[in-house]
Amino acid sequence: MGILEQFEQWLVNYWPSWAAYLVPPLVAFAILSTFILVVVMAFIYIERRGIGRFQVRLGPNRAGPFGVLQPVADAIKVLIKEDIIPAKGDRWVHWLAPIIAFIPALMIFAVIPFGHGAIFADLNIGILYIIAISSLGIIGVFMAGWGSNNKYSLVSAMRTVAQMISYEIPLVLSIIGVLIITGSLSMVSIVEGQHVPFLLLQPLGFLIFFLAAAAEINRTPFDLLEAESEIVAGYHIEYSGMKFGLFYLGEYTHAFAISAIVAILFLGGWSGPFLPPALWFLIKVFSVFIVLFWLRSTLPRLRVDQLMGFAWKCLFPLALINIFITGIEAIIWPNFPWQLLILNILIAALLIVLWSGFFRVAGERVSFERYGRGIAKGLALTFRHLFRHPITVQYPEQRLTPSRRFRGNLLVWDVERCNGCRACARMCPISIIDIETARGDKGLVVERLEIDFGRCMFCGLCVEACPVEALFMSRDYEKASYRRELLVMKKEQFVAAEKRPSAYAYPELEAEMPPQTLLAPPKGGR
């Protein structure tokens, strides 16, 4: 931190003492928050693109090269949106909630070491501080649920509290194994104490922590409080504009924080060969986050009682057992030799196998007795899809060729052939074809023709009804207007319009038209 020290020296020399006391933390805080925001935006981008690829979609790719500016675009959109406060909501609570939900997530980063000495404050109670601070966020969520004066929000708020209280316990207990080994609460000494990543030395603790943390930051399959299929969006249903933006940002900041904590506690933090420490740290953080949204893109959501049952019947006792085992190991092998990891992995596997036998669903032992094999298969499948070609296209640039019989949203009228028999008008199920004819030299002549394409449902019956092959469906698509009357086509427009007839009801026209683009391509994948 050479630059920061020089800066501090300069402050001490030329500024009053209180400034020297106050400015460096503020500067460090500004740098830190900027960095966090950048990483969070990267998270949002990566998640949206990543889930897109898991779902064989493209994902956002418009704003900037490869869509990297999408989070910025989102932010701008969110900033300029109207801010709505529910009429009977609790104004102040509603206003404060997003701030209270966001600030703790940011505060966690005060004790996260990004590298050697790259830490805002190396508290000796670091991990305890994190746990304490992250429990504050619930209050914000809760206030949001309450202040919105909405029953969905209220249900969400109730779920929040129940879920947070339940998952806080295994979360804290699973850390204790790590703390027993390192003998320190400081994040820096936890990283320095890891000669073997604790993922291997504490596999059970890692699993419990990871799952409990996923619940803590409301990631699938534990995202009950914003379950969009049940309670629509839960606590932030009534939020818009920047307040919603703060919740969104807070959620991802929290996800970043949790990924960082997992990286520090179980993956060895910044340590790693060859690459610079900060890079190693970021790689680990991003890998954890990728796993989080990989799970999100694969798994359905648990029900609320299953969620609680999972915390209390599965994670909680396993966390206690983990502490017990680690304690015994600490007495027998105080130095925790790396050979212990074989034993620990075996114990973890055994415990998971034993424990999963307890779970019954509908009286049948169906659910967890396969030790998550079904989930693993699903994860493998989504992972394979990550490398498949996306099936969606970028619409205005890449256009699919419609069918040769495509019933486009216009009609093509051949005025030469039309004999004014009005068969089309009679056939139209919604009577939108308006024809007036007059007697001319060679039979009837159409004087007035009006078709309202704002109402037309393109059933094609008029074309089929035409006895003289004067009416065709067109192959045009994309017809829109801001004014309804512009969608009504008159005789002159029909005559002047570019004629692109489709082969609907005229199979003999098909030969010279381009073949339709199919999603099932001739061979291989598209």
Binding site: S297, P300, R301
Partner: protein, 367 residues
């Protein structure tokens, strides 16, 4: 001294992401347990049955597209069969086979939609939905190739189908059918053993066979309850008696069985399409029937096994060009009648899943 808590009433819908349209459930729940529920529908009522009385028989075909808009081909088929029964029209054999192919493809597409939406209701973040939409898209491509539209096909005509298939249709269909089994296996890999899906659906919302029969429930819901009743077999129409396929039935009648039956039916449908493709004869696809048809006085009912259940059209003719009475036996509506019985006592989240597993289409419920 019994402890009691205060029940809360909450409105699900009509605008709600998992009501599959504009459907409304008034749910009273205690904690998270449903103690009462009242389904309210009619938000999408367009009076199609009445509208049909002032339109000719042919003009009504596009209207049937808009009943169950996820299975328009099936609606077309049931309706034109009713008119053919009414007027006594014989359909060319090739048209019958084409109709079967379309109806079975439609069944696959509709089931894909049902299962995908069900998984979404369970909270899967659109992944199964997207995968299933990918396959549905291929079916829509095929339909577009045949009739030029992707949703409201208006393909069947009284006395056949509107036009013959183009020459590239059969190879494309064959390719799709060959791929499809592999994709269904993929769904199985993603879903069938997923512990969370099992936990959410096993034993949830059990529909006993007796209740299902008494409530006149039909289609995959009925078969999931263990009743082997499929109109394709029980009362064969079109050329279904020439195909070899099985009728999958569930054991418990829970949400999982309803999911499972739909997946199995997709496999069977591919079998039917394959056989129909092989047996497809040459010839006319449309009997000589005037576009403005005047069937003799009388009444007729035709029913088919639509993707959602028994779809029937009851027509009364008074010797004019318009039907005197046009009645739809809508499977979605009738299957929905058991919703309250299925949901009582379950959690809020289960109600959504049970509702999703019924697989309704509001266009058909409200008509």
């Amino acid at each position: 001294m019994p402890l009691k808590t205060e029940p809360v009433m909450i409105n699900f819908g009509p605008q709600h992401p998992s009501t599959h349209g504009v459907f409304r459930m008034r749910i009273t729940f205690d904690g998270e347990v449903i103690v009462d529920m009242e389904p309210i529908f009619g938000y999408l009522h367009r009076g199609i049955e009445k509208l049909a009385e002032s339109r000719t028989y042919t003009q009504n075909i596009p209207y049937t597209d808009r009943l169950d808009y996820l299975a328009s081909m099936s609606n077309n088929l049931a309706y034109v069969m009713a008119v053919e029964n009414l007027a006594g029209i014989a359909v060319p054999e090739r048209a019958e086979y084409l109709r079967v192919i379309m109806a079975e493809l439609m069944r696959i597409a509709s089931h894909l939609m049902a299962v995908g939406a069900l998984l979404n209701d369970m909270g899967a973040f659109f992944t199964p939905f997207m995968y299933m939409f990918r396959e549905r898209e291929k079916i829509l491509d095929l339909f577009e190739m045949v009739c030029g539209q992707r949703l409201t096909y208006n393909y069947m005509r009284i006395g056949g189908v509107s036009q013959d298939i183009p020459e590239e249709f059969l190879p494309a269909l064959k390719r799709f059918i060959d791929e499809m089994l592999g994709f269904i296996d993929e769904y199985d890999q993603l879903l069938a053993e997923n512990e969370i899906l099992l936990a959410r659906s096993k034993g949830v919302g059990i529909l006993p066979a007796e209740l299902a029969i008494n409530a006149s429930v039909s289609g995959p819901m009925l078969r999931a309850s263990g009743v082997k009743w499929d109109i394709r077999r029980a009362d064969p129409y079109s050329v279904y008696d020439r195909f070899d396929f099985e009728i999958p039935t569930g054991k418990m009648g829970d949400t999982y069985d309803r999911y499972w039956v739909r997946i199995q039916e997709m496999r069977q449908s591919t079998r039917v399409v394959k056989q129909a493709m092989e047996q497809l004869p040459q010839g006319e696809v449309r009997a000589k029937v005037p576009l403005t048809l005047r069937p003799p006085k009388g009444e007729a009912y035709a029913r088919i096994e639509a993707p959602k259940g028994e779809l029937g059209f009851y027509l009364v003719s008074d010797d004019s060009a318009n039907p005197y009475r046009f009645k739809v036996r809508a499977p979605s509506l009738i299957n929905l009648t058991v919703l309250r019985d299925l949901c009582l006592g379950w959690k809020l989240a289960d109600a959504i899943v049970i509702f999703g597993s019924i697989d309704i289409c509001l266009g058909e419920v409200d008509r």
